[in-house]
């Protein structure tokens, strides 16, 4: 592996930071502003893509503050950005998906005529900048810096709505992510600094990532196993917060108050994956599978277990429990959020099983889940923009209204469940083989994977079913959602009527406002108003603060009453637009007229991507890259050498 000094990793980080400034500067011209996002996304992807061939040939591109400017960031610690295979995997994914998300975000924000769009797009660009920073960070301190900054710049996106619910979600978000970053991750980093600098004869700290684990840390761990273990769990807890591993997951569902492009790209790809990516860094490049395996934890009553086992158990629990919780979520985005929680734990579980095949599956699951989940969120967002429908129970028959969107949703859902021919299958396949190769107690993890796959079908298929195979006036009750556990004798139809009355004033206008509006018409409107300026004058049919601003206003009590019979999460999310079919039922639309091209185009591309990754993973870069990473970690020349090894044998390979 040759290291080359190259400014491209820095350029990849800075290009969207620059875009952020340009976005803020051109706040008066929405079209110019949105084009900066697109330009930056393309440039970023181009820069990262240009490094791909070199990285696949064993080159590592590195930019360091000390070498280029002579500034030492902290005593003995350099600020380094380096493009190694693992970093490139994440960076490539995030930057590729950003291109389409920037189109989608423009369509979404304009479709809803959202306020503070400049802040939104600026924060979005900044988030991407920091996410790429996390991908390319070359040592623990650098990754900590970007991890903290990522928490910071995504906060405006979570609190975007500026209502009480959003503010509370924002507080929760800040509290969780800074507890993870500022407390756990910093503590873990300091411990590693201390351990390595006291083990090193020259007293120098070793914080730079090394494929297969930091050598000096392994030495230090022999002397001080307890502190090394503490450091491991602190680091994992720090990244685990963003990866939503179970005791630390509850911010994610609340963060769904953010606009859907945020939920899509950030809370299914960039932000949460940065947590999963961090876990991968810790396991593969800080401690290394070998050290983790060799550093047994003595648990009273059980005996010695590997350092990875508690983590794997936690992840297995998370992916099962989150799937079960998702079953009872009526709010589509929340259901998807719990699905994300579960899917992220697949990655953590795969990594913590330490077997090369499981690690490969976990690494490939990063893009596989990203494509699938982004499709699902994009669809949920498109439905929200076009019909203001957020609840699964109101989506009966929506397939007529949005055929293409719901078809894409079906593809994404199949991917989540790990159906063959979709991306999710490939990664889950490798993880299953991996856990099978280890054998022993690891069968438990294989079972969890399979059970969770079934649960995935159980909570995503009903959405597809109700969209295509039910109609708005004739559909079955959803016992899991509407009835208290244990069952209740009641039909859905009374509730439905209530919804219709309540939403009556809106639904009357639905055909009009539900019509797709030509993109350019929308543009003129926002442009005239100047989207960055406060919009004190509102559309007549949509008073801005109708519900959320003044809870004492007429709508709320009725609102709460109506939703009483729905699933409980209506309450905590009860202040949004009223959805459901308009009075005359859904209008039938062709796939080309169901929404604006700004939304249809990204949805189709991402869904196609999910299928591509599932059908020809070998040709779609990511699997190659993942294999290459695993080869590097285990120090072999070809992945084939690792195929039939048991866990012990694999660990011997790494020790060689």
């Amino acid at each position: 592996m040759t290291e080359v000094a190259d400014p491209r990793p820095l350029a990849a980080v800075l290009v969207s930071a620059l875009a952020m400034c340009l976005i803020i500067a051109s706040y008066r011209y929405p079209n110019v502003r949105e084009s900066w996002s697109v330009v930056a996304a393309l440039a970023k992807f181009g820069i990262i893509l240009s490094m791909l061939p070199g990285v696949m040939d064993g080159t590592v591109y590195e930019w360091s503050l000390a070498d280029s400017l002579g500034v030492e960031f902290l005593a003995g610690i350099d600020f380094v950005l380096r493009a190694d295979p693992l970093g490139l995997l994440f960076a490539l994914l995030a930057s590729f998906l950003w291109i389409f998300t920037s189109f989608y975000a423009a369509g979404y924000m304009r479709g809803l005529d959202e306020h503070a769009q400049t802040r939104f797009f600026a924060s979005f660009a900044a988030s991407l900048s920091t996410a790429i920073g996390i991908a390319f960070a070359g040592n623990l301190v650098t990754i900590f810096i970007f991890y903290e900054l990522l928490s910071l710049v995504t906060y405006p996106l979570v609190a975007h709505n500026e209502d009480n619910e959003a503010r509370i979600a924002g507080r929760k978000y800040l509290a969780y992510t800074f507890f993870g970053g500022g407390v756990f991750l910093l503590a873990g980093t300091v411990l590693v600094y201390w351990l390595t600098s006291s083990a090193d004869p020259a007293g120098e700290a070793h914080l730079a990532f090394e494929s297969g684990g930091i050598g000096m840390l392994a030495e230090a761990a022999q002397a001080d196993p307890v502190f090394a273990q503490a450091a491991f769990y602190l680091l994992i807890a720090g990244f685990g917060v963003k990866a939503a591993v179970m005791p630390l997951h509850s911010w994610l569902a609340d963060a769904m108050v953010a606009p859907t492009p945020v939920s899509g790209l950030l809370h299914a790809v960039a932000v949460v994956k940065s947590g999963a990516f961090g876990v991968a860094r810790v396991i593969l490049d800080v401690f290394g599978p070998g050290l983790i395996y060799d550093l047994p934890l003595s648990v009273p009553g059980v005996g010695e277990v590997g350092l990875n086992i508690p983590l794997a158990i936690l992840a297995a629990f998370t992916l099962t429990a989150a799937s079960i919780i998702a079953l009872r979520k009526d709010h589509l985005k929340r259901r998807l959020a719990f699905s994300t929680t579960a899917q992220l734990s697949y990655i953590v579980l795969g990594l913590s099983m330490l077997h090369p095949l499981a690690i490969l599956g976990a690494l490939f699951h990063i893009p596989a889940h990203a494509f699938g989940k982004l499709t699902l969120f994009f669809c949920a967002g498109a439905v929200h923009v076009e019909t203001h429908t957020d609840y699964v129970s109101e989506m009966a028959g929506i397939g007529k209204r949005m055929p293409l969107t719901m078809s894409a949703f079906a593809i994404g859902a199949a991917g989540m469940a790990g159906m063959p021919l979709i991306a999710g299958f490939v990664s889950k396949f490798y993880m299953l083989i991996g856990s099978g190769s280890v054998g022993g107690g690891y069968w438990l993890f294989a079972t969890a994977l399979i059970v969770s796959g079934i649960l995935n079908i159980a909570y995503l298929w009903p959405v597809v079913y109700t969209a295509f195979f039910e109609s708005e006036d004739r559909h079955d009750a959803k016992p899991l959602l509407e009835f208290p556990p244990g069952g209740k004798r009641e039909s859905y139809f009374e509730d439905d009527a209530a919804v219709a009355t309540d939403g009556g004033d809106r639904s009357d206008e639905k055909p009009e406002s539900g019509q797709p509006q030509p993109a350019d018409e929308r543009d003129d409107e926002t442009e005239a108003k100047g989207a960055g300026t406060p919009e004190t004058v509102n559309d007549e049919d949509e008073p801005e603060y109708a519900v959320d601003k003044y809870p004492s206003d007429h709508t709320v009590p009725e609102d709460a009453e109506t939703h009483d019979d729905h699933a409980e999460d209506h309450h905590d999310h009860g202040d949004h637009h009223h959805g459901g079919p308009p009075a005359g039922g859904w209008e039938r639309h062709s796939p080309f007229t169901e929404s604006t091209w700004l939304m249809i185009f990204p949805i189709s591309v991402i869904a196609t991507g999910a299928v591509t990754l599932g059908v020809i993973p070998d040709y779609a870069v990511f699997l190659d890259l993942a294999m290459y990473i695993v080869e590097g970690v285990f120090g072999v020349d070809s992945f084939n050498e690792l195929h039939d090894l048991s866990l012990e044998e694999a660990m011997e390979v790494i020790d060689r």
Binding site: A75, E162, F178, V190, S552
Partner: protein
Amino acid sequence: MSSLAEMLPALLVAVPILLAAVPIVLGLRFERTGWSVAALTTTALTAATVYLAAAVYETGRVVHVLGGWGETADRPQGVGIELVADEFSVLIALLVTVTAAGVLAYTRVGGPRGNTFYTGYLLLIGGLLGLSLTGDVFNMFVFLEIVGLATYAMIAAGDGPESAVAALKYLILGTMGASLYLIGVGFLFMATGALNMDVLGEAIPLVAEEGGSDLTLLRAAFAFIFIGFALKVAQWPLHTWQPDAYQHAPDGVTPVIAALVSTVSAYALGRIMYNVFGPEFLTATPYLTEIVVTVGCVSVLAGSTLAVIQRDVKRMFAYSSVAQFGLIVAAYGLVTQTAFVGAVIHLIGHGVIKAGLFVAAGVVALGYGARTVDGYAGLAEHRPYTAGSIAILLIALIGIPPSAGFIGKWYVAVGAVEAEVWPVAVVIFLSTMLTLAYSARLLEKMYFTPAIPVESPHSPGPVAADGGTDTGADDHDGATALGRDSFRRGSPDAVSIGMLGILVVIAVAAVLLGFAGGAFFEWLEPFTSEVFTE
């Protein structure tokens, strides 16, 4: 060069004190000369300090023996007055002069005005520089008093009875702190017969080795000195003067006091602990480090908690200072090289950040008419530059990298882990969350709470309910001003370019300092390695 450099420490102290008389004298003839005199003086002082720093960088310590008295062939005899510029003191002197010059950009338009104010200002700067540069523990008391007296005058310059009360409170408590310190110095002199820091630094280990009643004197001396400084630095539970002083001092004065007065006192504490008593004495005395560390940690917790529940922004920042200085005192108590560097960096970083935040509080009060946390609602929309700067400074205060707040915290945390004092390490790591608690409150108000609600029939309601509490008057400002922007919302024109400029500059500096972690460490290396290898 060396002769000029050797003169500079004395000039740095004498010039501002002498020039303090100039505004009054000129005031007999001209009305507004104070600001110009102060501006010229502080600029010259800044330049001189930079020159001195360069000299220290090249040749190491620069010592000025006042009047040449007390100088023997090879070493000072112990009671002559010395001014010492080494890496540590020059750093603080730089902070003092640069901040003093910078804040003048605010006071030119923002007030307080008047020649006598600038007399006090220059006296304060002279005292602070003296406190930073002195090499003599008795002289330190003198400068503590000069600083104290000037501070009382400046706080009392605010209009309204609250300022007078706050100044009186500080007068009483501050004098008590200085007196306690003086008692400690007396004990030191009894035990060693010297007042010069260098001489004391050599004598104390010998006395400590001998043991007996002199050792008891030393310990008593340390106790008095520590408590005296705990008062001056505003450590819980001796902090009570500080919130009042900060809140009721004029807006133009608070940045100077908050950034410099406690900072330089904390510097003096560090100087006494490490140069006079020395790490060996600190670790050898039973329960000493434990007590120092506990005082610091409790201050972190108590200060942050109290900050969270404040409604007045300046008061909130004041309690935040209690917490941040707690971090510094705790770092002193760890007695490791890394933690000490962390404490020094945090002194500087916190000084810069707090100066910025208090300037911002003044700018907002002037240009937006808001003094309470609630009143800051919608600030981002109406005053984007001010709000942006406040946001950056708060983020720096939380310690999110890259920022001045982070590098200090990093070294303190590494020091705590190196010393293996786990409770302190836990408090330091948690301090991020504690700082976040009150910072996020303000961030959320500024950015995610709209200022002007649409016509609401309920608006008198909350105000009336709030009126029950003391801060009703303040609230009145914040809450009912909504909607009548131009009328109640202060006047944007009152904010000069200079004010906004200095705010933005400080915010940028707070971020740029975040890249100087290595540089600070290197700069302090000669000093720390000497202290910690003795």
